[in-house]
């Protein structure tokens, strides 16, 4: 059976760096997968490659099937028909992800109209208000006229989720959606995101380095290390069958009552002689 998303032998390089070293991975409809790994392990590259949004100089080989059909990354028009309307994307930087000279309403209506080319402006505005309501932005109608700098970081991140959902995609790729936010805001944004995804029965790829978040939201977890997929298991099995690297990741997390202690680094936690998979 083929999944909603099938990544086959994906390999991505930037100049001399190979960021993704032959990854194969399937995600089934309604599955919520967490992708974890330290900075530079290739998580963002994996998400962007799927959407065909890597910079022009990136080398990319392998194949990604969405709903059984191969994605043609160099065909911009074809990809524009997939992005937003079939696969949504949430960027990690709520500051930079909005054009500072356009209103929030413009961002949302443009996203809507890209996914619904024939729709009217009024439909787009209505959808924008509904989506903002959904992510719990109060007074949505008047806030559409505001500019990004008039929104707080947490609000912007919720708007970004709203914008990613406005095209009614079947899969959401969220790249560290809460990393730039403070802890309280993080929790609120995650809850909102979780609620809408659950309500729609959507697939989710949640890129994060926070295993706690994965445990709360995801059904599966995939662990990346230096461009390779080293483990992919149901989330409740992560402790039982942990790969040495995953174990190190787990131990490197702060725990309650750990006061005045230094957190160990991944390198210290890895077993002697362990270098590659």
């Amino acid at each position: 059976m083929s999944g909603l998303l099938d990544i086959k032998n994906l390999e991505v390089g930037f100049g001399a760096v190979t960021a993704i070293k032959g990854i194969s991975l399937s995600l089934y409809r309604g599955t919520r997968m967490g992708i974890v790994g330290e900075s530079g392990s290739g998580k963002s590259t994996l998400g962007l490659a799927t959407l065909g949004l890597l910079p022009d100089f990136a080398r990319c080989s392998g194949e990604v099937l969405f709903d059984g059909t191969a994605l043609h990354w160099d065909n911009d028009m074809a990809m524009a028909g997939v992005r937003g309307s079939r696969i949504g994307f949430v960027h990690q930087d709520p500051m930079g992800a909005f054009s500072p000279v356009h209103t929030i309403g413009t961002h949302l209506t443009r996203a809507y109209l890209s996914a619904h080319p024939g729709a009217s402006k009024a439909d787009a505005t209505k959808a924008a208000v509904d989506r903002l309501d959904e992510v719990e932005i109060t007074d949505a109608k008047s806030r559409l006229r505001h500019y990004p700098h008039e929104y707080s970081g947490g609000m912007r991140q919720r708007v970004m989720i709203a914008a990613a959902l406005i095209g009614n995609p079947e899969l959401l790729i969220a790249d560290e959606p809460t990393t730039a936010l403070d802890v309280t805001t993080q929790a609120a944004v995650l809850r909102v995101m979780n609620d809408v995804i659950e309500a729609r029965g959507m697939g989710l790829i949640l890129i994060t380095h926070d295993l706690g978040v994965v445990a709360e939201i995801c059904s599966e977890v995939a662990v990346m290390y230096h461009g390779e997929l080293i483990q992919h298991v149901p989330v409740d099995q992560i402790h039982e069958k942990a790969h040495p690297y995953t174990e190190a990741l787990l131990k490197a997390r702060p725990r309650p009552g750990m006061r005045g202690e230094r957190l160990p680094t991944i390198a210290e936690l890895l077993p002697e002689g362990w270098s590659d998979v």
Partner: protein, 338 residues
């Protein structure tokens, strides 16, 4: 927005007074006596003194400044002592000629810089990027009058596609009557398409010669800014929302990249008006450039002062427009007011 416009109007007025003061003082500090220069070395001292008092030169500096400002705004622009004609009638014909040339040069430069920068940023390639870049380098390195001569040789002498250096219209065509003094505009206002086309034909080469430098500058500026913002996360996110590359370029990146180009445009347009002398010379364009150059050499106060003030008014109005357009694109500018 209203407060932005108000604060700009106030600062414009101060800038205008400043420009007037500089023009006034600079000319009066220059060595030599305007009355003496006008009448020549052999005039009697009495005749010179009489002219000095007629010109108001025997009044206090402050009174002279006051009279100068008052007269400018009441439309009494005085008389050119070198040419013996009222400044109003001298500049009344020549200033619109310079303004029209400058406007066309500027519009050609702006539009081609806009289109080529967008094209280059959209399709990075040896032709789409290389050709305009080379043109830009050429524009910044080649003297305008030289480029004007080359255009004349190619466009007129070799191919005969364009009229020679014969001014704004052939002698056989009567210029359209008022109201702006810009022939293409007046011809259109009178519905005279034939004269419009002829005037446009005459404008093309000098406007191209004058516009190359601003083109090079504006192109490089916009191209670099487009490159900058194309790496911004919002460019990626707009594409992730399903917008095509081209649409993102035009609808998202351009408004984010164009403000420095607009600001520069305001400055460049003023520069064009003041710097068209050589091109006017090459094309026998009956503009204000020659008149004013001569006026400076002969200390013909009236002509030079009025020209400076007219240029300052145009410059200030242009920049006011630029500020308003920029603020309507970028809301942060409307608030900041700086």
């Amino acid at each position: 927005m209203t407060s932005l416009i108000l604060s700009r109007l106030v600062s414009s007025f101060i800038a205008l007074l400043g420009a007037a003061l500089v023009a006034f003082v600079a000319l009066r500090l220059a060595p030599g006596d305007a009355a003496r220069l006008t009448l020549g070395a052999f005039a009697t001292d009495e005749a010179v003194a009489a002219l000095r008092s007629e010109m108001g030169l025997d009044q206090s500096i402050l009174t002279q400044f006051y009279v100068y400002i008052r007269d400018f705004f009441t439309g009494d622009w005085g008389r050119s002592y070198a040419l013996g004609e009222p400044v109003r009638s001298l500049l009344g014909q020549r200033f619109p000629a310079t303004l029209e040339l400058g406007l066309y040069a500027f519009c050609m430069a702006f539009v081609s810089a806009l289109v080529l920068a967008l094209w280059g940023a959209h399709r990075k390639g040896p032709i789409s990027d290389g050709v305009p870049k080379a043109l830009g380098v050429l524009a910044l390195g080649v003297p305008q009058f030289w480029f004007g001569l080359v255009l004349l040789i190619v466009g007129f002498e070799m191919t005969g596609l364009f009229p020679g250096p014969a001014g704004r219209l052939p002698a056989t065509v009567t210029p359209p009557a008022g109201p702006t003094g810009m022939y293409t505009v007046d011809a259109l206002l009178h519905g005279d398409l034939k004269t419009f086309a002829t005037a446009l034909h005459h404008l093309f080469l000098p406007a191209l010669a004058l516009g190359l430098l601003p083109f090079g500058f504006l192109y490089r500026l916009l191209r670099a800014n487009l490159e900058d913002v194309s790496g911004a996360p919002f460019a990626l996110v707009a594409r992730a929302h399903g917008q095509s590359r081209l649409r993102v370029m035009v609808a998202t990146l351009l408004p984010n990249a164009i403000i420095p180009m607009l600001t520069a445009s305001g400055l460049i347009f003023g520069q064009l008006l003041a710097g068209s002398v050589l091109v006017e010379r090459v094309y026998n364009w009956p503009g204000a450039g020659m008149l004013v150059t001569q006026g400076v050499l002969q200390q013909d106060y009236a002509v030079v002062q009025v020209f400076i003030l007219l240029s300052a008014v145009i410059y200030i109005v242009t920049n006011l427009i630029v500020d308003i357009v920029a603020a309507s694109i970028d809301p942060r500018l409307a608030k900041g007011g700086a």
